[in-house]
Amino acid sequence: MADYSEHMTKAADLGLENGRVPTEYYTSPEYFRREQEMIFRRAWLMVGRVEEVPEPGDYVVRDMPTLKASVIIARGKDGEVRAFHNACSHRGVALVCQDRGNALTFRCPYHAWTYRIDGSLSAIPGEQDFAHVDKAANGLARIHLDSWSGFIFLNFADEPEVTLPEYLAGLDVMLEGAPFDQFPFYVAVTDEIDCNWKNLVNAFNEGYHVAVLHAKTLRPMVVPKDNPHLHYLDIKQFGPHSAGTVPRNFDYNPQAPALTWVYAQMLPTSAPDMEAIAQGRAGFYEHPGINRLNIPNFGTETITIFPNISIQPLANGYLFYQFWPISEGRMRTEVRVYARHAPRTLREEFAMASTLAATRDVVVEDMAMSRLQQIGFESGGKKFQHFGQNEPLLRMFTRDYEAFLAGGGLGPPARQAEAAE
C-alpha cells in the first residue's frame, strides 16, 4: 500500500499555533450568550433538505433551541421555499402547531388571523377594528433562506453580512454536483446531552479518539494498520469550513453471525460496496472533490460547515450531523442517516434497524464522552485543554470561533480552496 503519511495534515502545516484553549469557552454562560449573538445570529445555519417540502403547500416546523426560534419552512405555490418565524402578527401566537403538513393557508388558533403559504396576511376577522394594521406589512416575519446542493440554510440577521455562496467560501465549488439527492430517505436520531455543543463538534473533527473510545464499535471497521490514530488526510480549508479525507480498514471482515447476516441483506450506508467501486458507480466515490488523493481504502470525506454541521458522504448514503447549543452546558444532537430508499422488505427493515442501532451506539459513545468531558471542565481544576498537532481542525475551529466572537469571521470572502500541502 502506498504511504500516505505525507498527507497527514498537521496543525503546523496550516499555521495553527493555538494548542491551548481556555475551558471557559465551554463552561461560561457569558460565552454562550456571545455565541448566540455573534455566531448563530450571523452565520448561515444548515437546517435540512429541500426534499422535506417537495410539493407546493408542504411545510415543516423546526424548533431551534439555540435562538429559541420556532421556524416554518414552506414551499409556496410558486415553488419557492421560504422560512418564517412561527408567530402571528396579531398577538404573537406560534400558530402552526403540527410538525409538518400541506396547507393552502395558516390560520391562527387564537383569533383566526390567516396567512397564505407565502407568508402574506390574507384575512383579519373583524378587520374594521384593525384599520391601523397595514396587511401588506404584517405577513409572517421572514427569515433569510437560501439553499446549496439541496441543503436549506437560514440566516437570522436582519441583513446577512455575506451571501450563502460567499459564506461557503469555495466548499460549495469543491462539492458541486455531489449526489446528495440520490439518497432521499433518512432516519433522524435525536438526543439532548448535558455538555457544551463544541465538545461534539470537536469529536467529529479528529480521528485520534476512534481507536480508543470506539475500540469495540468503529475501530475494527475504520482504523487501518498504517494509520493507527486515524489521522485525517488532505485537510482543506474554506473560510471557517473544512474537509478531510478519512480512510477505512478494508481488511474488516466481520464473523459475528447477526452482523454477517445483516450485511448480506443490505449494505449499511457506511460499508464500501466493493462491486460498485470496481464498476465505477459507487455514489460519492467518483466525485472529484471527494477523496482527491484517490486512496484505495477511502472511508469518508468529513465535511465541517461552521458553526455546527458535519456531513460525511459514505459509500451508500451519507450522515448529516447537527449540534445545537441549548445553554453552555446542554445541547441537542440530531443525526440523520440518509439512504437510497426506505426499506422495501422486512429483511431490509431488519438490516436498517440493526445498522441504525450500531450507528446510534457509536454516537452514544461520543455523547457519553462529551458529557464526562463537561463534568471535568465544570469541576474547574483545568483552565485549558490541549489540541495536538494531530488535531488541526480543532485549532482551526477555535481560531474561527474567536474571530466570530470578535465580530469578524465572515469575510471578505477569501477563496481558500488550496490544500494545505
Partner: protein, 115 residues
C-alpha cells in the same frame, strides 16, 4: 397480551416473547436491552442469530405492511436481536459504556412506519 402465538415452526422463540414481543419501537427495544442481564441477551442471540435466514424465508411470504398477527409477533421478537446483537457481538455487556442509564434517544423514520 392476547393469546397470539408464534407460528408453530418458530415456537423455539417462545421464551423471548415476554421480553420482546410487546415492544413497538426501536427506543423500547433499546431500553429493554439496557435493563436485561447479559445472559438473557445472549440466550436470544444464541437461539435466533443462526436461524435468521429461516425466519426471513418464512416472513418473505407476507406483505410487510399487512402481516398476520402471528408473523407480526414473530417479527417484533426478531427485531429484539437488533439490540441484543449490539450487546453480544459488539460490547460484551448490555449498555454502552459511560452512557447514562436509563438512556433514550428519539428515532424518526422519514415517511416510513417501522415495526
Amino acid at each position: 397480551m392476547s393469546q397470539v402465538t408464534l407460528p408453530q415452526q418458530f415456537a423455539f422463540l417462545e421464551p423471548f416473547v415476554a421480553n420482546w414481543g410487546g415492544l413497538r419501537s426501536a427506543d423500547e427495544r433499546y431500553a429493554k436491552r439496557q435493563e436485561l442481564a447479559q445472559g438473557e441477551l445472549e440466550a436470544l442471540h444464541a437461539a435466533l442469530a443462526p436461524r435468521l435466514e429461516e425466519v426471513f424465508t418464512h416472513l418473505d411470504q407476507f406483505d410487510p405492511q399487512a402481516l398476520p398477527e402471528a408473523e407480526a409477533l414473530l417479527f417484533r421478537v426478531v427485531l429484539g436481536l437488533t439490540e441484543a446483537a449490539q450487546a453480544v457481538e459488539i460490547f460484551g455487556q448490555p449498555r454502552v459504556p459511560h452512557a447514562p442509564f436509563p438512556h433514550s434517544v428519539k428515532m424518526a423514520w422519514a415517511g416510513y412506519q417501522p415495526h
